[in-house]
């Protein structure tokens, strides 16, 4: 088992510097600009794919599928938050793989593989606090892996990656009512799963 290394605190990828200009260049066919975008967001896309699929290889495949789709459709990008646009594509690619593989795990998904440590945060200043936070993230990922697949997908898309109901419904091609129910039941189940680790949330 190689859970995220507590000595390497985690972070989330923020917007790229002068992102709009880079996206515009990529949309004009500048391959180096597109590469710059993908390099910047590959951790975000891979993280989403891994949390949806629970398999490092499938997650890498989904991420690459998403990059190819993004390359083919970047001219159709109409502004907004580029990260969200890319994450929606990744979610769709992951869900396609999930359906194709017909994997329906109802128990724990595999633990993260070697090399899946969190991206280092150069802003980390308090090792103790960061260690506690890394432990919280491990617990959350472990609890997510225990959710039924339909609830896990909905909770990951909505609560981890901030998609609204409509975006989740489009990604998993389900009615909004179904999506809401899955999200709510998923949250309740997560709360039960993490009930004996409440101290992690108090930091």
């Amino acid at each position: 088992m190689s859970d995220p290394d507590p000595s390497r605190p985690a972070t989330r990828t923020g917007p790229l510097a002068e992102e709009a200009a880079v996206v515009a260049a990529a949309a004009r066919g500048d391959r180096s600009a597109f590469t710059q975008l993908m390099e910047h967001y590959q951790g975000a896309c891979y993280g989403l794919a891994w949390r949806l699929l629970g398999d490092p290889d499938l997650a890498a495949d989904a991420t690459q599928d998403a990059f190819i789709h993004a390359y083919d459709h970047i001219r159709a990008y109409r502004g907004g938050i580029f990260r969200s646009w890319l994450l929606r594509i990744t979610a769709n690619a992951s869900y396609d793989i999930l359906r194709r593989s017909q994997r329906r795990p109802t128990t724990a998904l595999p633990e993260p593989e070697e090399g899946e440590a969190d991206i280092a945060d150069p802003r980390a200043v308090n090792p103790v606090a960061e260690s506690a936070r890394a432990e919280l993230y491990r617990a959350l990922d472990a609890a997510l892996r225990l959710l039924p697949e339909d609830q896990r997908v909905a909770v990951v898309l909505a609560d981890v990656y901030g998609m609204d109901y409509q975006e989740v419904a489009e990604s998993i091609q389900s009615p909004i009512g179904t999506v809401k129910s899955r999200i709510h039941r998923g949250r309740l189940r997560l709360r039960v799963l993490l009930a004996d680790q409440r101290e992690l949330f108090e930091g």
Binding site: P4, A10, T11, R12, T13, R31, F34, T35, M38, E39, Q42, G43, A44, Y46, G47, W50, R51, P56, D57, A59, A60, T63, Q64, F67, I68, Y71, D72, P112, E113, E114, G115, E116, A117, D118, I119, R133, L136, Y137, L140, D141, V155, A158, D159, V160, G162, K180, S181, I183, H184, R185, R187, L188, L190, R191, L194, R198, F201
Partner: protein, 237 residues
């Protein structure tokens, strides 16, 4: 004294409220209950904290280096040349088949009903014509002047030449009419040969077309073979 609260709402409604669901936020009854019920309020707070923690989950490092760009589908000069050859296969093959078919049919006369088979028929008819002219099969014409009694004579032993025939009156009689017929036959043969040559000349175009068709088919097959590696190379992922 604690206030009595109505029945607890569905937990999913509490989860919706923790997620700031617009429907839940507009549910006055739900809001009022949570405000008065410590258990439900605690549950909503737990769920809210849980959501906040989930929203902070970090990005992950890919388990393997990812290809960030799709491969460029620009064919090399060699590949472009091969693709061009492969594309030329079909039209060349079709053109070859058409030329071969039309040329073959034209050369055998099937395209002209009036001339159908006349070339070969003339070749077949030339031998009977000679028989009719000589009164004998062609291969026995030299034996015309050889009577059975003369065949035993010393001169008769020389007798498969025209000179022997002139020595015999019967042979002279027999040879007079064939001489005329042979002249006619020869003239007929000349006419027939001229006709055959003219016919061959007429068919030269068809024959050449058929040969060109065969050539095109062969060329198409060569091109097809040269394009095979491109097909194999482009199928893999």
């Amino acid at each position: 004294m604690s206030m009595t609260t109505p029945a607890h709402p569905d937990p999913e409604r509490l989860a919706a409220l923790a997620g700031a669901d617009p429907d839940a936020l507009s549910d006055r009854e739900l809001i009022a209950h949570v405000a008065e019920c410590a258990a439900c309020d605690g549950q909503v707070r737990d769920l809210w904290v849980l959501r906040a923690a989930l929203a902070e989950l970090p990005d992950l490092v890919p388990s393997r280096p990812l290809r960030l760009l799709p491969p460029v589908p620009e064919p090399t000069q060699s590949a472009g040349w091969r693709i061009g050859l492969r594309r030329a296969f079909a039209p060349l093959a079709v053109a070859g088949m058409v030329l071969l078919l039309v040329g073959g049919v034209g050369a055998t006369g099937a395209l002209g009903p009036a001339d159908a088979g006349s070339f070969f028929q003339r070749i077949q008819f030339s031998a009977p014509a000679m028989e009719a002219a000589t009164g004998q099969p062609e291969e026995t014409a030299a034996d015309v002047g050889m009577a059975p009694d003369e065949a035993a004579s010393p001169e008769g032993s020389r007798g498969q030449t025209g000179a022997i025939a002139t020595d015999s009156p019967r042979a002279a009689d027999a040879s007079a009419a064939p001489a005329e017929s042979l002249a006619e036959m020869t003239a007929g043969q000349d006419t027939s040969r001229d006709g055959d040559l003219a016919m061959v000349e007429d068919r030269v175009g068809w024959i050449l077309a058929a040969l060109a068709g065969i050539g095109l088919l062969a060329l198409a097959l060569v091109l097809r073979r040269s394009a095979v590696p491109v097909e194999r190379g482009s199928s893999g992922r």
